[in-house]
C-alpha cells in the first residue's frame, strides 16, 4: 500500500485542509518534548497522529498558513526557554496551564476514548446492533462529530490522513486478520481467492475505468477534461474490495466459512494488484503514453510486489518464531515480539513499496503455529486480546474518521460521475463474479452455487483504503481529485450502508448456510486428521499428485526440519492431534477452576456419562506402567501453575509485586509456601468433598476426567515406582462410584511404604502438584499430612466415599487401563 513520505504533504498547500502542512518542521520541535513522555518505538505513531490532529487547535489562533504557525511554535518553544532563564524575576507559578505540551497525546486519547465509548454504547442498545451494522453507526457518529466541529467554527482535522491510516490504523486490523487467518480453508480455496483477487480486481478496474471514460466523453456531462488514465486510476482505486469493511460486516452476519474466506481472502490479496495498478497509472498519468513494454513491466512489478511482500513477511515471521524459542525466561515481553516483528515486516514491505498487507498476512500466518507452541498460555492470551483490542479500536476509529472526513470536504459533486460510478461498480462486480465463477467452477470440486455467487458479489464492500488512496493523489497532477474523492466516499457509503445493511436480511432470505458456532470436538479433530490421511492415501493409490499429496509432503517436511528449528524443547514432536488434545484438556481444566470447583461447568455438554460407562466389562489386568511421555511434564507444570495462580488469587495479591514475572515462583517462597499449600489443600479437599457428595452435582464434562488423569503426577514422577505404590487408580472421582474406603486405606498404607522409599527426591515435586485435584496427589498429601501431625484422612475419606451406587464388578477396574 503506497504511502507518502511526510515531506510530500506540502504539495497540497493550497488545499484548504492542508493547513498543517509544515508538520515536518513542527514535529522536529515537538520531538524533543515528546521524547520525554513517549517510548522510542511509539514515536512514529505519535508524530503522524500529531500531524493529523493538530490543526484544529492551531486553526484557532491563525489562519494565515504555514509560516505564521511555524513562528508561533518557535514562539512557544522560545517562551519555554525564556521561562527557564528568567524565572527568578517572576513569582514561581504554582499552577500553570500548558496545553500544547500534552496536546498531541491528549487528542489521540480523546479520539480513542470516543471510539471505545461509541463501541460500548452500541452494545448497550440491544435492538440497534441487530438491525444496523456497527460500521454504519460509526460512520454516522463520525458525521455528527465532524458536524459539531464545523458548527463550532473550527477547521475539521484531516483525521483520515493517509500516513496515519496506512501506518497506524490499518496494520493492527490486518495483523489480526493474518494472525487468526483460518489457514485450512484459505489454502483449500487459494485458487478461487487468487482468481477473484487478481483477475477480478483487474477486470473491475479496467471495466469501471474504461466505461467511466466513455461516459465522460459524452457531451453535456462537463467531464470532457477527464482523460483515460485518470479514469483508469480511479477505477483501480475504487475496484478493490476493502478488508476492513468486509470484516466489519461479515463478522456480524455469521456466514459460512467458505463464503467468508472467499470474500475476505479476496479483499486481503487484492492489495498487491491495487498497489501496482495505482503506481502504474499514477506514473503514466504524468507521462501520458503507455507502451507494451510498460505493460510487461507492470506484470513483473505485480509479481515482485506480491511475492516480495510475502517473502518479507515470511522472513520476519520465521525470525519471530525463532526469537520466541528463547523467551522462556522472560515471559512478560513475549507478546511484544509478535507485534514488533509484524510491524517491522509491514514497514519493511512499505519501504520498498511492496504489498504491506500481504507481508503482514504472511508474517502472521507463518509465525503463528511456531510462536503458539513456544510462548506460554498467558502470553498467548495476551497476544490474542491485544490484537483483538487494537484491531477493533482501529476499525472503530477508521469508520468514525470516514464520517469526519466526509464532513471535512471539500466536495465536488457531479451527478453523472457519482451515479455512473456506483452503478458501474455494482455491474462490474456482478459480471466479474459470475464470469469468473463460471471458469472457476470447472476446476473446483465443490462448486459455487448461484447463491454463493450472489453473496460474493454483494459482499464486495469498499472502504477506507480506497479513500486513503484517493487522498494520496497529487492535487496538481489530478485536478479532478476532489471529484474523485467525493465519488469514492459516495461509493463507500453506498456499499457500507445499502449493501452492508441489506446483506443480513438477504442471507436469511436466501437461507445461505451459516457458520456453525459450536467449538470443535475431539471427534471432529480425529476425523479431520483421518480424512486427510485417507484422501492422501487414495490420491496415492490413484497415482495422482494432487492437492492432498503435496500438503502431506509439506506437513512432513515441516515436522522434520522446520519445527525442530523453530520450536523449543521437545514440543516439536507433538503431532497435531495430541496438541489439540492437550489444548482441550487445558481449557477444561481452567474452566473447572473458574467455575469454582466444578459445581457448574460451563461446558457445552454437561455430561452425565463417566469413564466407566464406556469401559468394556472385561479388562486386561491392571496396567502397571503408565509411561506417559516425558514431554508433557512441562505442559502439566504450566497447567498446574495456572490452576494454582487461579486458586490463590487472593493470596497472590498480598505478595510482593514483581514487574518481570507474572506468577511468583513457588520455589522461592520456601517454607511459607509449603504452609500455604497445606492450607490450600484443606480447602481443596473441602471443595472436593462438597463436589462429590452433593448427589446431583457432578455434571462433569467427559474430558475433564481425562484432564485430571493426564495430569496425574504419578504418571510423570512415579513411572516405575507407581507399579507397586499405586498399582491402579481405583476411583474415578468424577463418577458417583463409591470405592471401598477400607480398601483405600490399605492402599495408602501399602503406598506409604514405597513412598518412603521414593523419599525426598519426589518431595519437592510432589508439593507442586497440589494445584490440581487429583486423587493420587491428595493421597500423597495424606502421607505428608500424617507426618506433619495433620489430620486429614477423614477429610480425604469423605471425599472419596460418597453416596453412590456401588458396583462390585468394577471395583478393581483401573481408571485407565
Amino acid at each position: 500500500t503506497p504511502s507518502k513520505p511526510p515531506g510530500t504533504e506540502c504539495d497540497g498547500r493550497d488545499y484548504p485542509l492542508a493547513l498543517h502542512s509544515p508538520t515536518g518542521s513542527r514535529s522536529f520541535l515537538e520531538r524533543g518534548l515528546l521524547l520525554l513522555v513517549m517510548l522510542i518505538f511509539l514515536e512514529g505513531t505519535v508524530l503522524t497522529l500529531g500531524a493529523a490532529s493538530s490543526p484544529d487547535i492551531s486553526a484557532q489562533d491563525n489562519t494565515g498558513g504555514g509560516h505564521d504557525r511555524r513562528d508561533d511554535h518557535r514562539g512557544i518553544a522560545g517562551s519555554h526557554e525564556h521561562t527557564n532563564y528568567t524565572y527568578t524575576k517572576k513569582a514561581f507559578p504554582v499552577l500553570s496551564l500548558d496545553y500544547h505540551h500534552i496536546q498531541v497525546p491528549f487528542e489521540i486519547s480523546l479520539w480513542v476514548l470516543l471510539a471505545s465509548l461509541m463501541k460500548l454504547g452500541f452494545h448497550l442498545i440491544p435492538r440497534l446492533s441487530s438491525i444496523v451494522p456497527e460500521s454504519c453507526l460509526l460512520i454516522v457518529v463520525g458525521l455528527l462529530v465532524g458536524g459539531l466541529i464545523k458548527l463550532a467554527g473550527e477547521e475539521v482535522p484531516p483525521v483520515l490522513d493517509s500516513n496515519l491510516f496506512f501506518l497506524c490504523l490499518l496494520p493492527p486490523i490486518i495483523l489480526d486478520a493474518g494472525y487468526f487467518l483460518p489457514i485450512r480453508p484459505f489454502m483449500e480455496n487459494i485458487g478461487t481467492i487468487l482468481m477473484f483477487a487478481v483477475v477480478g480486481t483487474l477486470w473491475n478496474a479496467f471495466f469501471v475505468g474504461g466505461l467511466l471514460y466513455a461516459v465522460c466523453q459524452i457531451e453535456g456531462t462537463y467531464l470532457s477534461q477527464v482523460e483515460l488514465l485518470p479514469c483508469l486510476l480511479f477505477g483501480s482505486i475504487i475496484s478493490a474490495v476493502d478488508p476492513v469493511a468486509v470484516l466489519a460486516v461479515f463478522e456480524e452476519i455469521h456466514i459460512n466459512e467458505l463464503l467468508h474466506i472467499l470474500v475476505f481472502g479476496e479483499s486481503l490479496l487484492n492489495d498487491a494488484v491495487t498497489v501496482v495498478l495505482y503506481h502504474l497509472f499514477e506514473e503514466y498519468s504524468g507521462a501520458g503514453e503507455v507502451t507494451p513494454m510498460d505493460v510487461v513491466l507492470g506484470v513483473i512489478c505485480f509479481l515482485i510486489v506480491s511475492l516480495g511482500g510475502i517473502a518479507v513477511g515470511a522472513i520476519y515471521g520465521i525470525l519471530a518464531a525463532f526469537t520466541s524459542r528463547f523467551t522462556s525466561h522472560t515471559r512478560v515481553i513475549e507478546p511484544l515480539f509478535v507485534f514488533v516483528y509484524s510491524y517491522m515486516a509491514y514497514l519493511s514491505a512499505e519501504m520498498f513499496h511492496l504489498s504491506g498487507i500481504m507481508a503482514l498476512i504472511a508474517c502472521g500466518a507463518v509465525m503463528r503455529p511456531y510462536v503458539e507452541a513456544n510462548i506460554s498460555h498467558k502470553s498467548h492470551t495476551t497476544v490474542k486480546y491485544f490484537l483483538k483490542m487494537w484491531s477493533s479500536v482501529s476499525e472503530t476509529l477508521i469508520f468514525i474518521f470516514l464520517g469526519v472526513a466526509t464532513v471535512a470536504g471539500p466536495h465536488a459533486w457531479n451527478w453523472t460521475f457519482v451515479s455512473v460510478t456506483v452503478i458501474l461498480c455494482l455491474v462490474s462486480r456482478v459480471i466479474g463474479v459470475v464470469g469468473l465463477t463460471f471458469i472457476i467452477n470447472k476446476f473446483r470440486i465443490v462448486k459455487l452455487t448461484t447463491k454463493d455467487q450472489f453473496i460474493v458479489a454483494y459482499g464486495g464492500l469498499r472502504g477506507a483504503i480506497a479513500f486513503s488512496l484517493g487522498y494520496l493523489l497529487d492535487k496538481d497532477l489530478f485536478p479532478m481529485r476532489t471529484m474523485f474523492l467525493t465519488a469514492i466516499i459516495t461509493e463507500i457509503f453506498f456499499t457500507v450502508f445499502v449493501q452492508g445493511m441489506t446483506i443480513k436480511p438477504l442471507v436469511d432470505l436466501l437461507a445461505v448456510k451459516k457458520k456453525q458456532e459450536a467449538k470443535r470436538s475431539i471427534n471432529e479433530e480425529i476425523h479431520t486428521q483421518f480424512l486427510d490421511h485417507l484422501l492422501t492415501g487414495i490420491e496415492d493409490i490413484c497415482g495422482h499428485y494432487g492437492h492432498h499429496h503435496w500438503k502431506d509432503k509439506l506437513n512432513r517436511f515441516n515436522k522434520k526440519y522446520i519445527k525442530k528449528c523453530l520450536i523449543a524443547g521437545e514440543r516439536y514432536k507433538e503431532p497435531q492431534l495430541i496438541a489439540f488434545y492437550h489444548k482441550m484438556e487445558f481449557k477444561q481444566a481452567i474452566e473447572l477452576v473458574e467455575s469454582g470447583g466444578g459445581v457448574k461447568l460451563p461446558s457445552a455438554m454437561p455430561s452425565q456419562v463417566s469413564m466407566q460407562n464406556i469401559q468394556p466389562k472385561k479388562l486386561p489386568p491392571a496396567v502397571a506402567e503408565r509411561a506417559l511421555p516425558q514431554f508433557t511434564k512441562g505442559r502439566e507444570e504450566e497447567i498446574r501453575k495456572i490452576l494454582r495462580s487461579n486458586l490463590q488469587k487472593t493470596r497472590q495479591r498480598l505478595r510482593s509485586y514483581n514487574r518481570h514475572t507474572l506468577v511468583a515462583d513457588p520455589f522461592e517462597d520456601g517454607w511459607n509456601d509449603f504452609l500455604l499449600k497445606k492450607q490450600r489443600m484443606i480447602e481443596l479437599e473441602k471443595k472436593m468433598s462438597n463436589y462429590l457428595t452433593v448427589p446431583a452435582a457432578p455434571p462433569d464434562s467427559p474430558t475433564m476426567c481425562r484432564a485430571r488423569l493426564a495430569s496425574d503426577p504419578n504418571a510423570f514422577y512415579n513411572i516405575k515406582a507407581s507399579s507397586e505404590g499405586v498399582p491402579t487408580i481405583q476411583v474415578d472421582l468424577a463418577s458417583p462410584q463409591s470405592p471401598d474406603s477400607v480398601n483405600m486405606l490399605n492402599e495408602f498404607s501399602k503406598r506409604g511404604a514405597t513412598d518412603q522409599g521414593l523419599g525426598q527426591r519426589e518431595g519437592a515435586t510432589r508439593d507442586e502438584d497440589q494445584g490440581l485435584m487429583m486423587k493420587p496427589s491428595s493421597a500423597g498429601k495424606v502421607e505428608k499430612g500424617e507426618e506433619d501431625g495433620g489430620n486429614k484422612n477423614p477429610g480425604l475419606m469423605r471425599c472419596l466415599s460418597d453416596p453412590g451406587p456401588s458396583n462390585e464388578d468394577e471395583e478393581d477396574e483401573p481408571f485407565l487401563p
Binding site: 471427534n523 487414495i538 494432487g546 502431506d552 507433538e574 492431534l577 495430541i578 482441550m584 452425565q608 456419562v609
Partner: protein, 246 residues
C-alpha cells in the same frame, strides 16, 4: 497400457459408468492406473497396493488398503474381506470419493453424506458388528499417531477414551453408572460428525490426473522412492536457501 483413446470396449465402460457415476475419461484413467498397479493382471491384490511407495509413509495405510478389499464397500450387501478385487470393485470403492454434482437436492446430499460416512464407519468398524467399540476406536487413533513414535501410543489411548466419552455423552445424555455404552453406532456416528461437511470434503479430483507422466517416471526410476527423495531434497534446499537469506 494402451493409449487413452483406445478404450477397450464401450459397452463395458458404459456399464461401469452407470454403476459408479464416473465419466468414460475418468474410467479410462483409473483403468490405466489399475493395470499399472496390478502389473497388467485382471485383479489387484493387497501386495500390489502395499508396494506403492508414496503410501508407505501413510499412518493409516493398512486401513486404507483393507477398505479396498472390504465387501461392505462394494455396494453388494456382502460382508467379510476378499483376497483380490477386479477393476469394477476398484472403481466402486473409488466412487466413494467422487465429488458431488453442482445442483443437489437436500435428499441427494443426505444420501451422499450417509454413503461417505458409511465408508468411514466401515473403516473403523473392523469386525462389522455395527458399532465402533472402544477397542476399535483406540486402534484408529493409535494408527493415526503411529508415525509419531513411542509417545503416541499412550496418548492415543487417552485421546480415544476422551473421544469415546464425548460420543457417549452426546448420544446418550445421562447414563447410570452401571450402564454400559456399547460403542458408536452408525446413527451416533452421523450425529457426532454432523458438523464436518463430509459431502464437500471427502472428495478427490479424478480428472486431470496425468498418470502417463507418472508411468514414465516409474519406468525411469524403478523404485519410486527416489522421486520422493528428490522432492524432499528440493524442499530441503529451499529451506536452506531461505535460511541463507536470513
Amino acid at each position: 497400457m494402451g493409449a487413452l483413446q483406445s478404450l477397450p470396449d464401450e459397452p463395458e465402460y458404459r456399464d461401469l459408468s452407470e454403476k459408479t457415476g464416473f465419466s468414460f475419461e475418468q474410467i479410462g484413467i483409473l483403468h490405466k492406473r489399475f493395470k499399472q498397479l496390478s502389473h497388467n493382471e485382471d485383479t489387484l491384490r493387497r501386495d500390489d497396493l502395499n508396494t506403492i511407495p508414496d503410501l508407505s509413509c501413510n499412518p493409516i495405510r493398512t486401513q486404507i488398503i483393507e477398505a479396498f478389499f472390504d465387501k461392505r464397500n462394494f455396494h453388494q450387501n456382502g460382508e467379510g474381506t476378499v483376497q483380490e478385487i477386479s477393476f469394477e470393485e476398484f472403481l466402486v470403492v473409488m466412487s466413494h470419493f467422487r465429488p458431488p454434482a453442482l445442483d443437489m437436492t437436500e435428499e441427494q446430499r443426505e444420501i451422499i453424506r450417509r454413503e461417505k460416512l458409511r465408508f468411514l464407519f466401515n473403516m473403523h468398524d473392523t469386525d462389522n458388528d455395527g458399532t465402533i467399540t472402544l477397542e476399535e476406536y483406540r486402534h484408529v487413533v493409535e494408527e493415526l499417531l503411529s508415525r509419531s513414535g513411542a509417545l503416541g501410543k499412550e496418548t492415543a489411548k487417552g485421546i480415544a477414551d476422551a473421544a469415546m466419552l464425548e460420543v457417549a455423552s452426546i448420544s446418550m445424555g445421562h447414563m447410570e453408572p452401571d450402564e454400559f455404552y456399547e460403542g458408536i453406532t452408525f446413527e451416533h456416528f452421523l450425529k457426532i460428525l454432523k458438523d464436518i461437511e463430509i459431502e464437500t470434503r471427502m472428495n478427490i479430483r479424478f480428472l486431470n490426473m496425468d498418470t502417463t507422466n507418472l508411468c514414465k517416471v516409474n519406468r525411469a526410476y524403478p523404485d519410486c522412492t527416489s522421486l520422493t527423495k528428490y522432492t524432499d531434497k528440493l524442499l530441503e534446499s529451499c529451506l536452506w536457501f531461505g535460511f541463507g537469506l536470513l
